[in-house]
Amino acid sequence: MKITMTEIVERALTGKPCSEREFDIRLSKRARELVKEYGISYDPANPVPRDFGLANSVFKAGFQLFCELGVYCTSTNRIMSFSEEEVRYALKHAPAEVWFGEGIDRRALTPRKPEDKRPPWCFLGAAGAPVSSEQILSILVESYAKIPQANSITTPALTRVRGVRISPGTPLEILGAIETVRIAREAMRRAGRPGLPIMNLVATATTDSSLISALNSEFGARSSDGVLVGILAELKTNFALLNKAFYAKSLGFRIAGELGPVYGGYAGGAGETAIVTVAEHLMGLMVYQADWYLAFPVHAIYTANSSRELLWVRNISAQAISLNTNLLSLYLSYIAAGPMTEMALYEIAAQISSIVVSGVSIEAVGVAKARHEDRLTPIEPKFAAEVAYASTRLSLQDVNELVKQILPRYEDKLKNPPLGKKFQEICDIETGRVSREYLELVTKVKKELSDLGLPIE
């Protein structure tokens, strides 16, 4: 039988006590041992592996790690444990399709397989990157909704509301979260796609109270939208996160287990981070009873996931999930460079092409690490969607060769990437129209990628 939310909370309250430090160290050591036991080795020469035996080993190791370690609840300092039988049962009964959106924009998110010819689900937009005003948020979302491949929208996060900087846990955060949903809905209506779902409800809300406030339908949130519930790195949760999951689930929202294991952090190296990525998918399934998954393994130093190691981690863990489960997984791309730089487009091309052939769907794109205010435009997600569609015509081997040619064009700049320009410097703030200079740059890079073997128009 399915585990209820009440049982989940009970396990957090009565599980085996453990210090957080002990749990972190246990996780790191066990992940390292499992990588050895399963013979998982990172191959820098092939960032897009085509070795399904390896992918299956990554899955088995991740499954074992999750079942052996459980999940740490930082609110109670206890470990929530799950048996192998419980996890297998939940995997067997996990939803193999989930519907999002309304009216003519209502679509089903379904699982994909490696080298799947069907296009991925395109969850497009800002990936929660910061914007300084309601006006920029509005014009950006309208532009995202005009991208033909968009199946759903990822909104930016407001840093200010009515000109005042938002502070967490205050009414300003609640107001910011409400405004984000209200403005985004209105912007999508202006674009002629009022039924498009927002799948990152609500980027501006950090605390459980502000998320719960913003999920009120009065402000435009719909249960056919997606709600992100974060997993603390690594394999941890707390009651504020469980509050979010419980409330959103009760209203019928589509919940995502949002997981960003840190390469170089407690997860460790490439092999370990890949298996922790698998384990955290299972945590989303068991603890949040997630309907879908948003994965973004990230580099501890670069805080992006376009480096060679991270491409490998993303691709092998995606193949592991895709080959062994029906979990509806999307991988989020964080790029280091800012808008209107060749590097940003190369990073997107490498990440998106490889993850699409690895058998999952996409969220694109966190530009300039989704860190720098207003450093984003509608061009990056649009370009990502075009790369995604083109990649469905390629094999893993084709994309491996392609990525091997793209990587040398940017990997030495990851430590000090160019930040490019701000939205206001590239786009007309009233209409969202993009500068000719940027469009010409995109055309130039597309031509290069086409010459390298990506069938992009």
Partner: protein, 224 residues
Amino acid sequence: MRKMLEEKYFAELREAIIAGDVQRARECAEKIVKEGLDPLKAIEEAIQPAAKIVGEKFEKLEIFLVDLIMSADAMKAAAEVLTSAIKAKRPLKPVGKVVIATVQGDIHDIGKNIVAALLVANGFEVYDLGVDVPALKIIEKAEEVGADVIALSALMTSTMRGQKDVIDMLKAMSIRDKYIVVVGGGATTAEWAREIGADGWAETAPEGVSLIRRLIEEKRGVKP
């Protein structure tokens, strides 16, 4: 003979620290004291170079966070033995005292933990207050321990204001100049640090440690 003994034990201590072997590092430090070797020299020639190597290895991700933590623990264990031996003769001036926390509203701790571990590894006295820490609690701790530096982490754009709140509160309490305040974390930028009046910002943990070291040097006018 004494020189050879020093070289042997200092090399052993360096190796134990780099390997993150707490037990071996402590035992090695005890042997150094027992043999009557200079404990201050052991700190300077074994612990500090080992800390540098560990920091460099982490920066290149040749080692990972758990290795860094184990090395920091090994360093701490050895340093405790050596400093108590020094204290018996003369007081040892700390490299610097740092109060570190993830600000109120933010529950993310990996970045902060990496900085804390690297600071310990570099001989700083670190008071890690954890996550979601209110501004006043951070300041009270800094006052209590006589900190040199307040280091503030925030991952989310929606929580970075917590860093500004600490600086604003320090100003309101008329003690802003007592502390070096540095900020970092996923959402933050150099521009943000300037906007809120922080003394410095670093993108990565190793850069953060170098920044803190430099700011202390500048404030004291001497090398820490």
